[in-house]
């Protein structure tokens, strides 16, 4: 056996004679003396050592076998997937005026109609539920809680259908949190509300500058009050969008949360991500502070620094592991307020990226979306493939006006993966 091509070797922080092996395929890691690397290549491992490293995915029989494993990896994940998922854009309206909103000029008083809601229910009913045990909807916007009656109506019908089939129905919200009052949560919980992702962009002064109400007033205090009063009734995940100019202030948000009693016992997870500049016709004209590319060195530095601050305070955050793009999920659909279907929320408003609509159904999209474009020698021999699978198609579209080809993330991973793996080990993720 030999070292897996999806194993990364990092220096040990504690011993010059040892190294850390990390499997991008299995998210496993070991500390070994450097001698073992030579023993692996020379076939001198003991049977126990060989079995242990093979079980962790760190060594493999050969390149051909691993290549086949990767080529069928996503297909295998889809075969094991037991849920059918929908992201529903209920409106493109909002009560905030975030400076960087990626939906930009797509926004407006556009709401999902009764007719589209009815067609959506038909579409949900028409999916294949063989070997499925769950329907999940993520309500998205705009601001989904501006459409709370629509959430109720859709959920009642989907739940009735799910109950009839003996499967579970749950839903989540991606909300700015302004309307996530305890009254709203109490109303939606019995219908299947399980979790909400709420965005806070740093401490009060920074957040209020980036995410004000349309009238200009800050939204931070309103959101925090809602979180304090609702956090025990549903699973709250906090996200935040940072720029090069403000990311160093984000740890102050974590302190503010803890001061208000919103510690790791009440917040399910925290994760901060960089604002990506929308460079298309939808871009807000006055905002250019986001990153143009994940390759900008400050992005990797900020990601590792803020993750450390999150973990240091005991909050959960996603571990470093293979996570193929949502687009790869066969039984997952994004529907906009007009009933048009997409594979990613970033694509709404772009008719050329649609995969169909709830009236006429889904058309083939793998080729137009370039979903198999990573199946080439460069990607299949790249140690980062299991973390990347061709990168982000939305970013690819923004930068090159096409989803074909790959959005190579090698230089980003070169910078960030070592520090993130060290964090995972240090904090026991």
């Amino acid at each position: 056996m030999k070292l897996s091509r999806y194993t990364k070797v990092y220096p040990s922080p504690t011993s010059a004679d040892s190294v850390i092996l990390f499997s991008t395929k299995r998210a496993s890691a070991v500390l070994i003396p450097k001698d073992i690397l030579a023993d692996i290549e020379a076939g001198r491992l003991t049977a126990d050592e060989q079995a242990e490293l093979a079980g962790l995915g760190l060594i493999a029989q050969g390149d051909g076998e691993e290549r086949q494993e990767m080529l069928s990896y996503i297909q295998d994940l889809n075969a094991r997937d037991r849920s059918v998922k929908f992201i529903v854009v209920l409106n493109l309206d909002c009560n905030l005026a975030c400076r960087y909103c990626f939906e930009g000029t797509r926004k407006g008083k556009k709401y999902l109609s009764d007719e589209v809601a009815a067609r959506f229910i038909d579409f949900v009913r028409g999916r294949d539920y063989e070997e499925k045990d769950e329907i999940r909807i993520t309500f998205y916007g705009g601001e989904p809680l501006l459409s709370v009656d629509r959430i109720t109506g859709i959920s009642e019908q989907v739940r009735r259908f799910a109950d009839g089939r003996g499967i579970r129905y749950r839903f989540s919200l991606v909300t700015n949190g302004v309307l996530l009052t305890p009254q709203a949560v109490k109303r939606l919980r019995p219908l299947g509300l399980a979790s909400a992702k709420v965005t806070l962009d740093g401490p009060k002064d920074v957040h209020d500058s980036f995410r004000p109400f349309k009238g200009g007033a800050g939204s931070f205090d309103v959101i925090l009050r809602n979180l304090c009063e609702s956090a025990d009734m549903l699973r709250i995940q906090i996200g935040g969008n940072f720029t090069q100019g403000n990311y160093r202030n984000f740890p102050l948000l974590l302190d503010a949360l803890q001061e208000r009693g919103l510690g790791p016992d009440r917040i399910a997870a925290v994760k901060f991500d960089p604002v990506v500049n929308e460079s298309s016709e939808f871009a807000l004209p006055d905002f250019r502070d986001g990153c143009a590319s994940m390759d900008e060195p400050w992005v990797a530095e900020a990601a590792a620094l803020l993750r450390e601050e999150v973990l240091k305070r005991g909050y959960a955050t996603p571990k470093t592991m293979p996570s193929p793009c949502l687009m790869e999920r066969d039984h997952s659909f994004v529907m906009d307020q007009d009933g048009v279907l997409f594979k990613c929320p970033g694509l709404i408003g772009r008719p050329g990226c649609a995969i169909g609509d709830v009236r006429s159904g889904v058309r083939p999209y793998r080729e137009s979306h370039g979903l198999d474009d990573w199946k080439n020698d460069d990607c299949l021999t790249c140690a980062y493939l299991p973390l990347c699978f061709g990168g982000c198609k939305y970013l690819k579209l923004l930068r090159e006006n096409s989803m074909r080809g790959v959005q190579c993330q090698k230089s980003y991973f070169d910078r960030v993966l070592g520090p993130l793996v060290a964090q995972d080990i240090r904090y026991g993720l």
Binding site: P33, R235, T317
Partner: protein
């Protein structure tokens, strides 16, 4: 013979395609529970 391998992280048992929304371009997704 002395044990030479120290396991720092066990292999993940269950890998899933992103369940919910990622930050566009960020390889660590939001996992919805």
């Amino acid at each position: 013979m002395e044990k030479r391998i120290v396991v720092l992280k066990k292999a993940v048992e269950k890998v899933e395609i992103i369940d919910g929304l990622c930050c566009f371009g960020s390889f660590i997704p939001y996992l919805w529970g």
